[in-house]
Structure formats: C-alpha cells, structure tokens
C-alpha cells in the first residue's frame, strides 16, 4: 500500500502540490487525472521518492520514504516498475539492452532466461521485432511501449504508468489498457495510471483521483464519476468528448468485467 499524507511541493515560487493525501490500496488500479501541468507527474515521482515533499510523508508498505536511509529507499524502489512520461529509455543501449537492464542488475537470471523474458515483454507490448534497434530509431509510440516493457520486466509489485497510452493509436491503446488489466489481475499488481484519456480511465481504473489547483479535488470510483457534482471534474470529463451517458455505459461494461 502506498500512503501519501499531506504532502506539499513547490518549485521556487511555483506551488504544485498543497496538502495532498491519497492512498493506493493493494491490488487496486488508481487513475490520476487532471489538466496538463496540474502536477500529476510530480505527484507520481513522490511515490518512489524521486522527489522529496517540502512537507508531509509518503509511506510504502508502512515505510516512510522521506526519512528512510538511502539503502532502504532503494530496496523499496525495487518493488516498483515506473513508466516515465517521456519513456526515459537509456539511449546508449538498444531496445533489448534497455529491457534486459533491470534483469541484469537485479535478477539472478542467466543470459538465456533474460533473453526469453525480454522477448516475452516485447510480445506483451506488441513489439516483437525491434530488439536490436536503438531508442532513437523508434517512433514515439514504440518508445513508450519499450519503456513499458522495461517497467514490467521485473514483475514488480507496484507499477506506475505515466500516460501509458498518450501518442498511441486507439487499437494499440486498447492493447495497453488490456495489458494493464491483465497484469493487475494475473499478478495482482497495484497500479497507478496517470492519463488524460477518459476512455483509458473507464477501461482500467477502479478508482479515480482528480488533481486540480494543487490538490486532489475529487476521489471516487469510476461508477461515481457521472454522479459527481464537482464542476471542474465535470468539465474535464465533458471536454474529453464523452457524454455522461456514454461514460456510464462504458463504466457499467467495464464494471461488469472486473
């Protein structure tokens, strides 16, 4: 379980997060939505201690990320797979090298096992034939999926996805959404999905947190979205071209499949 308690974060004069609290329960899929620049990525980086809050605490499985010694923080981080918004692929390594990287350093697999695992991960993101390409030779959407493959390679307990479907065509987006659901269901992964894409939210999320004006303005289940009275969230949902009817229809569909 990840517990975020009253964290505030500012960069110089810019206040990004103010007194934000949220918990991510074991095995659930939490979507974080909000306007561009509202601080979603900043919030996500606090979950693994890549950013330190100015005040407040972040607990992972009960351990305080802010005060723990560095070695302990590293051990906590090994439970995570993180998909960065820009992919953050190592450009000095090939696609294969990127996905194999965590396996080489943190698993006791042999080179053959690593190769098999990398291929498996590439298949999961529908990229079977790009292993020997450099990240710079891939399209934006391909890079995103390679980064996703790298994030899931170690079969982590928590996966943080920063806009996993942005820049992807609808079909590939659906593949990724299915993958997120699959990992959560089969491996009991706890997932945090940052997204702008209401379709993804309805497809994957159990709960939704809406970040607006430095704070989480609304947290609730997917089914509750269309009953919510928060004007900002309503206009956010409306802007994503989903009428309330469509939203609730899809919600009840995905609700029945969960």
């Amino acid at each position: 379980m990840i517990e975020v308690e009253n964290i505030s974060k500012s960069f110089g004069a810019l206040d990004v997060l103010e007194d934000v609290s949220i918990e991510v329960r074991d095995g659930e899929k939490l979507a974080i939505i909000g306007r561009s620049g509202s601080g979603k990525s900043v919030l996500m980086k606090h979950f693994v201690g890549l950013l330190q809050p100015d005040s407040g605490h972040v607990y992972v499985d009960g351990e305080d990320l802010c005060c723990a010694p560095y070695e302990q923080v590293r051990h906590l981080r090994m439970r995570f797979g993180v998909l960065f918004q820009g992919g953050a692929l190592f450009d000095s390594k090939t696609t294969f090298g990127n996905i194999a990287f965590p396996l080489r350093y943190f698993s006791s697999m042999t080179e053959d096992e690593i190769e098999a695992r990398v291929q498996e991960c590439l298949d999961l993101v529908r990229l079977s034939e790009v292993g020997d390409k450099n990240p710079s030779e891939l399209s934006g959407g391909m890079r995103k999926r390679v980064a996703l493959a790298r994030a899931i390679a170690m079969e982590p307990q928590y996966i943080l996805y920063d806009e996993p479907t942005s820049g992807l065509d609808p079909e590939t987006s659906n593949t990724i959404n299915d993958l997120i659901n699959h990992l959560a269901k089969e491996l009991n992964v706890t997932s945090v999905v940052i997204t702008h894409d209401m379709h993804s939210v309805l497809e994957v999320a159990d709960r939704v947190a809406f970040l607006h004006g430095n704070d989480l303005e609304w947290v609730g289940t997917v089914e509750e979205i269309h009953e919510c009275t928060n004007p900002h969230l309503n206009s956010f949902v409306k802007a994503s071209e989903y009428t309330i009817d469509e939203a609730s229809a899809t919600a009840s569909l995905s609700g029945s499949s969960v």
Binding site: V48, L50, F84, L89
Partner: protein, 250 residues
C-alpha cells in the same frame, strides 16, 4: 549580496556531497566494474591520439625555441636537453594534456550526464533501485584517476621523443647530446610532480564534469550550459591546482 557570496559556497558543498556519495559507494564498483572499464577506454585510450599530437607539437616547438634562445657559443648545446626534458615532465606535458582533456573528456561527461538528467534517464536508474551516483559518477572519476597518469606518461614520452627528433633533424643538437643534457640535471622529483599533477587534473576534470552534468537543469540549453561550464571551470581549476602543487612540492 549575501546570496552572491553564498551560492558558490553552496555549490562547493553540493559538489563535496556528490563526491562523498560517489566514494561511499566504492564497494559497489564490483557490480559496476564493466562501467569502469568502458570509461577507462573512453576517457583514457580514446584520448591517446589527441594527447600524443599535442605533446608532439609542444615538444618540437619547445626544442626549436630553446635552441633559438640559447644560440651563443658560450653555452653547451646539451643544455637544450636539460631544459626541454624537465619542462615537459614538470609542466607542459601535463598541463597541455589537461587543457585538451578538459575539453574532450570534461565536455563529453557533462553532456552525457546532462542529457541523461533532462531526459529522466537518471530518474529511471534511481527508480529501478540503482545508485545512480555509484553507477554514473564513480566509474568516471575513478577512470580519470587511473587513466590520466597513463596519458601523462604518453605525453612525456611523445613530447621528449619529438624534442630529441626535432633537435636532431633541425641540426640543433645530436641525440646523444640531448640525452646527456637531460640526464645531467634529471631529478626524480620532476616526473613525480608531473604524476601528482596528472592525478589532480584527472580528478578535477572528471569530478567537475560529473557535478555539472549530474545537476543539469532545464532542457537542451541546460545541457549546453553544463558542458561549457564544465570545460571552462576545469581549465581554471587546472591553472590554480598547477600552481598549488608546485608551491606545495617544490
């Protein structure tokens, strides 16, 4: 005003902490030894041609100009050798190599780490549970400490060699005259001081570049700033360290 005084102090503190954390993770080099090896090749072996080239020219020029300045019948020609060889070992061989490597090695490291920082690759390393400082900074600084003395030897051998060759070809003095002069006033302290300088410069160049690169901010412009500052700062610190080593050891 106070801020203008404090910010360099803060930078020094941040730099010291970075180096402290790098050397604190030295036992992890067992895991990252491959990185150390790669950096030794990139920083050391790949720099041999440019260092040799610079050494060759400085050795040749120094011989020609010393010969010109001592062009009187009262001074024995062997003196040229007695001046050229120690000058290269004490000063030219290591300082010229230092300047060239500040550009070649320092700028490269700063650009590399800076790009990794702004494209979140360093965050990605950390998020996996890797110690990014142990993984990125330590191998580069160690490679600098190990390989700069090697480059210093290359620089001296090539510099003095070209000096001898130029003296012979240019008809200033024979090979044996040069060697006789060089031996006459040889002191073990000369190459020792050069060696200490090469260690110092190797540390300065790689650590300043790692510091600038690791803490790069804001995009392509930030990477550009870090790269330039790494090269310029290293050159300034080399000049200061050159004087300090000389004052301390001579």
């Amino acid at each position: 005003m106070i801020d203008a005084l404090l910010s360099p102090l803060r930078a020094v503190g941040k730099y010291a902490i970075l180096m402290g954390r790098a050397f604190a993770s030295v036992d992890e080099i067992r895991i990252y030894w491959k990185n150390l090896f790669i950096q030794m090749v990139r920083i050391g072996i790949d720099s041999v041609p440019i260092v040799a080239l610079a050494a060759a020219f400085s050795g040749a020029v120094l011989t020609v100009q010393t010969a010109y300045q001592l062009e009187t019948p009262f001074i024995p020609k062997t003196i040229i050798g007695s001046i050229v060889a120690p000058s290269i070992m004490l000063e030219l061989g290591v300082v010229i190599a230092g300047f060239i490597l500040a550009g070649r090695v320092g700028a490269r490291i700063a650009a590399e780490l800076g790009t990794m920082r702004v494209s979140e690759q360093i965050d990605a390393l950390e998020a996996m549970g890797l110690n990014s400082i142990g993984f990125l900074v330590l191998p580069r600084v160690l490679a600098g400490l190990i390989m700069f003395p090697v480059l210093y030897v290359v620089s001296c051998v090539v510099g003095i060699g070209t000096g001898i060759f130029t003296g012979h070809i240019g008809g200033f003095l024979s090979v044996s005259e040069f060697l006789k002069g060089a031996r006459q006033f040889f002191q073990l302290l000369d190459p020792f001081i050069g060696f200490v300088k090469s260690l110092t410069f190797g540390f300065i160049i790689t650590s300043v570049a790692c510091y600038k690169g690791y803490y790069t901010q804001s995009g392509a412009e930030g990477v550009g700033d870090s790269t330039t500052q790494a090269a310029v700062l290293s050159c300034v610190f080399i000049l200061v360290a050159d004087l300090m080593v000389a004052l301390l050891l001579l």
